[in-house]
C-alpha cells in the first residue's frame, strides 16, 4: 500500500518538484509553532501560571490551536506520501504520530472540562487536579512529538 502511495502523481510532485517539499516543510513549521505554542500556553495556564488570565477566556485559543493542527495534518500527509515506505517503518516517526494522537485526545478532554468547569476554576483560583495532570501530560506529549519528529530525519 505504501509503495503504491509513493508512486502516485501527488507523491512524485512532493518528492521531485523544486519547491513542493520545501514549501510543505515551511507550512509544517508554521503549523507546529501554532499548535504546540498555543496548546502549551493554555496548558501552562491550567497548571497555575499567568494568574491574570481567566480560565474562561482560555477558550479563545481553542480554534487557533486546532487551526495549526489541521495545517500540519494536511502538510504532514503530503510529506508522508513522498517517502511513505520509509516513514511507515521508522520508529521515531511512529512514536511521533502516536504522541500527537494522544496529545489531541488530551486537548479534547481539556476543552470539554473547560467548557463545563472553567468558571468554577476561576472562582476557586485553580483548575481541577485531574485537568492539571492532563495539561502536564499534554506538554510532555508535544515535547516528545517534537523530539521524535526531529529524530525521524536522523534515525
Amino acid at each position: 500500500m505504501f509503495e503504491w502511495l509513493e508512486g502516485t502523481p501527488v507523491a512524485i510532485w512532493v518528492g521531485e518538484s523544486l519547491w513542493g517539499y520545501p514549501i510543505l516543510l515551511a507550512c509544517h513549521a508554521v503549523g507546529l509553532a501554532i499548535v504546540v505554542g498555543t496548546f502549551v500556553m493554555r496548558d501552562l495556564r491550567l497548571i497555575g501560571l499567568f494568574k491574570g488570565i481567566s480560565y474562561e477566556s482560555l477558550d479563545s485559543l481553542r480554534k487557533l490551536g486546532w487551526a495549526g493542527f489541521v495545517v500540519n495534518a494536511i502538510s504532514g500527509c503530503f510529506l508522508f506520501t513522498s517517502q511513505a515506505t520509509t516513514f511507515a517503518s521508522s520508529t521515531p516517526f511512529l512514536l511521533k504520530i502516536s504522541m500527537i494522537f494522544l496529545a489531541a485526545i488530551c486537548a479534547a478532554i481539556i476543552q470539554n472540562k473547560m467548557r463545563d468547569e472553567a468558571s468554577a476554576w476561576d472562582g476557586a483560583g485553580a483548575a481541577a487536579g485531574s485537568v492539571r495532570v492532563i495539561a502536564m501530560l499534554s506538554i510532555a506529549l508535544w515535547t516528545g512529538a517534537i523530539i521524535a519528529g526531529r529524530l525521524t530525519a536522523y534515525l
Binding site: Y21, P22, V36, G37, T38, M41, L64, I146, R150, L151
Partner: protein
C-alpha cells in the same frame, strides 16, 4: 568573512559541535522547542494586542513574556552554535542573512513596544479594543517572527546567494 570562517573553524566550540553525531540533532530539538515557546507566547500576546481574543485581559498577557524570552534565549544559544558548527554554509546563505535582518526588525519593534505601549498598557480597559499603534506593532511582530520561522526552515533549500 573568510577570516571569520577560519577563526570559527579553529575554535574549540566548533570542534565540540562537529565532533559528536548527537550534537546537531539535539541542538535542532532545542531550537524547535524554543521556537514553539517564542511563537506560542507571542501569538497570544500579539493577537490580543491586535484586538482579537477580547475575553482575555489584555493587561495580563504580559505575564507570558518570560516564556518569550526563554524561547528566544534557547534559540539564540543554539543558533550561535549552528553558525559556529558550519560557518561557511551560513555566512554564504542569503536566506540566513534575510532571517537575521528580520530578527533585527523584530528586535527594534519590541523596543518600540517597550517605549510606546508598555508604559500605558496598564491603563487600558481589560476587554476593550486596542489603539492603532498597538495593532501596528502587534502585526509587525507576528509578520517578522513568522518570516524568521519560514526563512529558517528554508535555509537548506535557498541558494547560497
Amino acid at each position: 568573512m573568510q577570516a571569520f570562517v577560519s577563526a570559527v573553524e579553529g575554535s574549540a566550540i566548533h570542534q565540540l559541535v562537529v565532533g559528536s553525531a548527537w550534537a546537531w540533532p539535539v541542538m535542532e530539538i532545542i531550537h524547535f522547542i524554543g521556537l514553539s515557546l517564542l511563537l506560542g507566547s507571542l501569538l497570544v500576546i500579539d493577537l490580543r494586542m491586535a484586538g482579537f481574543f477580547r475575553k482575555i485581559d489584555v493587561t495580563a498577557t504580559h505575564q507570558l513574556l518570560p516564556w518569550t524570552f526563554i524561547g528566544f534565549g534557547l534559540n539564540l544559544a543554539t543558533g550561535v552554535l549552528f553558525v559556529m558548527g558550519d560557518p561557511a554554509r551560513y555566512t554564504a546563505n542569503i536566506g540566513f542573512w534575510w532571517k537575521m535582518f528580520l530578527v533585527a526588525v523584530a528586535g527594534l519593534n519590541a523596543l518600540w513596544f517597550w517605549v510606546k505601549i508598555n508604559p500605558v498598557m496598564k491603563t487600558w480597559e481589560p476587554h476593550a479594543d486596542t489603539p492603532v499603534l498597538a495593532k501596528t506593532i502587534a502585526w509587525i511582530s507576528l509578520c517578522s517572527w513568522f518570516g524568521v520561522l519560514l526563512l529558517g526552515r528554508l535555509i537548506p533549500y535557498i541558494g547560497t546567494g
